[in-house]
Symmetry: C2
Subunit: 96 residues, 2 copies
DNA sequence: CTGCATCCTGAACGATACTG
DNA sequence: CAGTATCGTTCAGGATGCAG
């Protein structure tokens, strides 16, 4: 279970799950702008790579100039997003 | 939702939730021994106090010599424990 | 027995500058 | 545009010793 929580152990991962579930694929720059300067490129890249490693997102690089990289949610990612929704619902009842 | 995850943001909190759901109340020393030296007094005290502050456990001090302190799970604690079970189930299916 | 005080380490995250 | 490289800060958690 801790293993599951580890998948969202990362400051921006829950939000990334949310944004990518809302619309996939999304470009790196788009995601960066969605956070409005609250997160750095460094950190965003890091968290996306970890999520890719965990099988939550897929990363597709297009050989173009300028470069384009798109991130999409996997089935596992969508499933985890649904679980997060459960958790959110619990919070609504017990925390307010 | 992050607010909910914050309640178990703490290395030993999920385990404490588990042990206290299994049997309440439990003494401090008992909990400490359950972890078999993997956690220090310092950290265990800290996490229990945070859980108390979050309304997950109640702390009862008995004015005896030697001192006795017992921790119990609250209704909210049991409820969170149930949610953790949901999370665990998800992990079984998607992580193995 | 329980827990507080102090010090310390490691990992997460941010700031900034540079590159294909 | 989408990174990588470095460095600095913060903070959870551990080690150890002391106290009621």
């Amino acid at each position: 279970m801790t293993n599951t929580l580890d998948l969202v152990r990362g400051k921006w991962k829950p939000a990334l799950l949310y944004y990518l579930a809302e619309e996939s694929p999304r470009r790196f720059g788009t995601l960066l702008r969605l956070f409005g300067g609250l997160v750095t490129q460094h950190t965003l890249t890091q968290q996306l790579r970890e999520m890719e490693h965990d099988g939550l997102v897929t990363r597709v690089v297009y050989a173009e100039v300028p470069p384009r990289v798109e991130y999409s949610l996997t089935d596992k990612g969508y499933s985890l997003r649904a679980l997060m929704e459960q958790i959110y619902q619990w919070g609504e009842q017990h925390v307010g």
